[in-house]
Symmetry: C2
Subunit: 202 residues, 2 copies
């Protein structure tokens, strides 16, 4: 619809997830009007991302150095490892302030149809971490926090099988149930079923 | 929440219009995973935008050369000029296929509180275009297609006053009324009022 670089920019922006044609146009015209230093900053961070982002050698999340801030923090409990699928799950759990242990990022979930088997995930690294003690401390609990969907559940089941032979290790899974603040009548049947089977004595 | 360039990228993306923190994070992790050439293409178009975009010397819309494709097209009717606020209004009208004349982009609407007076808009250029004939053809109709809001209406009123002394020139305004496919009961009172005052004999 537009001529020259404006249309090229709209096309490139439209390839980004969650950016439809209208948003792409809105962002493009915004960028036409901003001061050049603002575009420079965007270009600079894109260049850094293009040059490669570092991942923590221990847990696999995004890091600025060899270890991420959490793995490098001596105050974090080394006896607990929370296993998540992606780096973006780490800040989500951190925001709850419920967990003071460390993380292990798998890099996805088992999905044989898309060619993701155990070898494609950081499962061997997890077993090594637990087997070698995590930084000199016995790991006593692994919390599996994969997504509550088909792939995440399959991954959890696989991990339980791999972990059950470690002596003195408890393997737990995040609870499934009704979301807080929600309305029981609007919960889907799978969630409501899980809430029933996971009911607790008061 | 993240370390290093990933957080910087999320911060920069979050400054774009319509991109909230969640979308910024989603786009950032998408860009972490794409192939470098995709980032290169995004960088290249940003660079072109940064170097400056050309605007049609006649109508003021985004152009690849001196004239935009519409002004350069000899098949477009030179006796009609449709006045819009922004370049993005041009493709919106083009999609209707109702208009075969040419455009004039004001570059905004009158908004004294934000310091936008007639001098800040391309109004003098419009008067020159009409006074000099548009490319050798008498302009017989100017269609004012500014937005149907306070600033757009004020701009339309101002333009009518400036244009009424041109001999043989009809000045029209896009109709306001109920949007097609909408429900009368959900129309706001201003729109419904306009639909009444603009009613037509059948």
């Amino acid at each position: 619809m537009y001529e020259g670089p404006v249309q090229d920019l709209i096309d490139e922006l439209g390839k980004l997830p969650g950016v439809g044609p209208k948003s792409a146009q809105r962002i493009a015209f915004h960028l036409l009007q901003v001061e050049p230093p603002e575009i420079d900053r965007l270009q600079a961070v894109l260049q850094k991302i293009r040059d490669g982002v570092r991942f923590c050698v221990q847990c696999g999340t995004v890091a600025d150095g060899e270890l991420c801030r959490i793995c490098a923090d001596p105050r974090r409990d080394r006896s607990m490892i929370c296993v998540v699928e992606e780096p973006k799950d780490v800040p989500a759990i951190e925001r709850t302030r419920e967990f003071r242990g460390r993380y292990h990022v798998l890099g996805g979930a088992l999905d044989p149809l898309s060619g993701v088997g155990p070898e494609q995930l950081r499962i061997r690294e997890l077993l090594t971490r637990i087997g070698n003690q995590d930084d000199g401390v016995d790991v006593t609990e692994v919390i599996i926090a994969t997504d509550p969907n088909t792939e995440g559940e399959a991954t959890a089941t696989y991990l339980v099988r791999m972990l059950r032979d470690f002596p003195g290790l408890t393997v737990t899974r995040l609870a499934s149930g009704l979301p807080m603040g929600g309305d029981l009548e609007f919960a889907d049947e799978l969630t409501l079923g899980r809430a029933f089977s996971g009911r607790r004595a008061l």
